[in-house]
Structure formats: structure tokens, C-alpha cells
Symmetry: C2
Subunit: 263 residues, 2 copies
């Protein structure tokens, strides 16, 4: 259990921020940027992995003595939509043909196991970044905000159940935007463009959330969007949502009078 942690790094800010958070804890992770998904800056910082040759990639990770990995960041949708590596296609067919996120995660897990590697939940490494239920910052929700948050939680949970997405935006009793493949940040842009300031963003876990995969994440970039667009509130799934830099995020919310609630 004292093997170094490997980060299989997709796109977006998450891999680097996670790398920093783990480094601050003295864990000095090993980065494996995913070709075609990880940002330019990341590609030079470790051994790259080509999803089209996934078994080779995992062999590389294994050969570095890594037995515990975390998966972070978005992977190019072509993985789910197009040119899948043969071994993944075989596993998909064995698994009944489904390509939903949860089905693909189950397949990945089996693939990593073959290489004697374990996918470690973020929560085991950074428990302090998963706030428990409660009002985390700001005024307790007023009536209107409370209704928007409760509509948001109700709707987001239905979406997560249907495996469509995990985030929604509400305002004045209306569901303004629902996330599917585009991701939370692009959904926030759209929602703000449609209804202006004062909306609530709610982000939840899947009902069958595997803590090793694709947990709901809130980071500084999402928070900056909420600040810029003058959101009223952020609701997250208590104990299940990873905050990248929780104190920093809450300080941003405090300064902009954004209420943050974990439910």
C-alpha cells in the first residue's frame, strides 16, 4: 500500500490541481497524461498514455511500480463515441454492449485489475476536500433560494438516475438548464446567458456513485463562473462532492455573497 500514486490525467484543470493537492500532502504522484485529452502543459510532465493502445499504456504505468491510480479530468468523447480500442470493444460486448459512463467505468476497473492495479477513490486521499451536509458559507437560503435549491436537487437527482448528467441550473422555480455531455461549465455559461444573475447551480452524485470514478467536482474555475455571473447559490451533494481548494472556493463565495449548501 506504500506504492506511489499515479494520476491518469485527462483534460481540464482537475489533474494538475489534484496533483498539487496530493503533493502538498507529500504523496508526489506520477502523472500519466492521456494523448488527445490532457492539456499541452501536462503532456510534457509524465509518460503519455494513448487510449487507442490502452493495454500498452497500462503496462507502462505498471512498469513504473505504480499499483494505485486515480483517474482525473475529461477524456475525449471519442472514447465513448468512436474509435474504441479493440480490448475495450471486447469488454463492452462482454458486458452487454452499453456505453454509458457507469458501464465504461466498470469496464475500466476490470482492465486495471488485470494489471494488478487499483483505482483509488479521491476521498481516501483527500477526505478533507469532501464537505459534510450543512450550509458551508453565506446566509441560510431565503424562501425563493430554498425553493430553487430544492427544485435543483430534485431535478439533478432525476438526471443522475437516468445517467444523463449531474448538474442543473434553476431560477425562480424554473429549470433553466440541464447538463448532458457538454459539462457543467458550458451549462453555466448557457444558463447565465438565458436568465442573468441570481440563479442556483446544483451538482449531485450518481445514485450508484462509485467513489473511484467521476465524482462531482467543484473547483476554482466553476466558482469563478458563479462569481462572474452573480449566481445566488451553489448546492452540492454532501460528503460526495470533491472541492478543489475548498477554503479558497468558500472564500470566493463569501466575498460574492454566494450561499453554498451541501445536502
Amino acid at each position: 500500500m506504500d506504492s506511489r500514486i499515479g494520476i491518469i490525467a485527462g483534460g481540464g484543470e482537475l489533474p494538475l490541481l489534484l496533483n498539487e493537492a496530493l503533493a502538498r500532502k507529500g504523496l508526489s504522484p506520477f502523472l500519466f497524461p492521456v494523448l488527445g485529452s490532457a492539456s499541452e502543459g501536462l503532456l510534457s510532465q509524465g509518460k503519455t498514455i494513448d487510449l487507442l493502445h490502452l493495454e500498452e499504456g497500462l503496462a507502462v504505468v505498471h512498469s513504473q511500480g505504480i499499483r494505485r491510480v486515480i483517474l482525473a479530468g475529461q477524456v475525449n468523447h471519442s472514447l465513448a463515441l468512436g474509435s474504441l480500442p479493440e480490448e475495450v470493444k471486447t469488454l463492452i460486448n462482454e458486458g452487454g454492449g452499453g456505453r454509458s459512463a457507469m458501464e465504461l467505468f466498470a469496464i475500466l476497473k476490470r482492465l486495471f485489475k488485470r494489471f494488478d492495479m487499483e483505482i483509488v477513490p479521491y476521498k481516501d486521499l483527500l477526505p478533507e476536500a469532501f464537505p459534510a451536509p450543512g450550509t458551508l458559507i453565506g446566509m441560510p437560503p431565503c424562501e425563493e433560494m430554498g425553493l430553487d435549491l430544492s427544485l435543483g436537487f430534485k431535478t439533478a437527482r432525476r438526471m443522475a438516475e437516468l445517467d444523463i448528467g449531474q448538474s442543473v441550473v434553476t431560477k425562480k422555480g424554473l429549470v433553466v438548464a440541464v447538463e448532458a455531455l457538454e459539462g457543467t461549465d458550458r451549462m453555466i455559461d448557457r444558463a447565465a446567458d438565458l436568465v442573468g444573475p441570481g440563479f442556483s447551480l446544483v451538482k449531485v452524485a450518481r445514485p450508484d456513485q462509485d467513489p473511484a470514478f467521476d465524482v462531482p467536482v467543484v473547483g476554482p474555475l466553476t466558482m469563478e463562473k458563479l462569481v462572474r455571473y452573480k449566481a445566488a447559490a451553489l448546492g452540492v451533494e454532501g460528503g460526495e462532492t470533491l472541492f478543489i481548494d475548498l477554503p479558497g472556493c468558500l472564500e470566493m463565495a463569501r466575498r460574492s455573497h454566494i450561499t453554498v449548501v451541501a445536502e
Copy 2:
């Protein structure tokens, strides 16, 4: 029952196209463009209605001898989100405070009734524009397209039940985009941007669809988007979806090898 038809005209292409379709049937409708919602071109073509003074507006319609109206086109969301006229606020409060589309429609219906006016379903006026179930044009769906359409119908029906939206885009077994407040056309842009050609658009009716309000509509602009982005298929609710220029839409689909299915 032989009173002239009035079209209360919001934004988008629908009011004018509907006006033309009804005119071709010799009905010569009277246009009432809604201030702040109807396009510039429309505003000069009839007596404008200000939603902030809705009762006055309805009195104007009534004074023209109009007893049958249809509502067409989008109305600025401020109606649902902001500065509502006092009489509508009162009706909302009497009705339990909800501001969902169906709740607002019920309120409008009562308001029109007060003025001895009836809101007429499109289907009564243009029955030929509502295709019955079946493959309307193109090859019967292949296996992959069939799965995407069936996922689309399933998902869109859940969204409509939750009163979130009526359209979704699917591709290769994934829900790519879900419509909420942004409308179908902006959702198609987003979906095409995310996954490229070959997707399926499905548009359904609400489970409690009032044929007088906000029926699902497909028109040349939506069709042009599907052609431009090389969509694979369009699925609509059979007998409940209004096609603006059905023959024209099907001809566009035929030329671009888009399968159109009513279910």
C-alpha cells in the same frame, strides 16, 4: 364560430409561417404581435400587445371582434421570471404559486375566458400538418439509429414529464444534450458542436399536452439545422407534432438522407 382567427404572436419564425399557412386556407388571421418578443417585421403588421398590460391587450383583441385566437411563438422569459403583470400574479397566487409552463398556460386560459375568447388548438385549424405515427421519410432506422431514437424517445418523455423540456439529442447510445429553457435550435447547435454528424433529434409532446398550448413544432429552420449538421434521424410524437410546411420539411430530409419517424 365564424369569427376571424387572431394570432397572438411571439418571437421566432412560427407566427409568420402559421399566418401564411392559415392564409392559404382562406382564414386571413389578424396578427397581434407581443411587444418585446415579436420580431421587428411583425410589430408593424398588427396591433401590438404589451404583456405588462395584458388585460388591456386582450380588450383590444376582443374589440376587433376576435373570439378565437391561437398563441404562437416564444414570449420573452421575463413573463415567467420577472416583472409579471399584477393580474397574472394574482392568478398565479390563486393557482398555488407555480410558474411552470403548464401552470402559466392554465392561467392564460382563464384570462382569455374572462374576455369571452377561446384559445384554438392548431390541430383544429391545420390537421394535415400533424403526421400520424410511421416512418415519414427515409430508410427505416438501422439498428444503431433505432437504438438512438428509442433512447431519445424514452429520455425526452421523462424530461417532458418533469416539465423540463421536450427535445433531446442522442448519438451512439449516449444522451448528448437535453433541452431546458434554451429551446430546441440552440440545443441542436450545442449537440452538433459536441459530437458532430450522425446524431438523432427527438421531440415529443408533454404527457398532459394541451393541444392549444406550446405543442411540439418542427419547421424549416430546425430542418435546415439538421441538414447542415448532417443529422441521421428526427423522431417526433405522432399526431401531436406540428410541422410547418410538412412536404417541404420531408423533401429537405429526403435530399439529405435524414430519416424522419413519428412514434
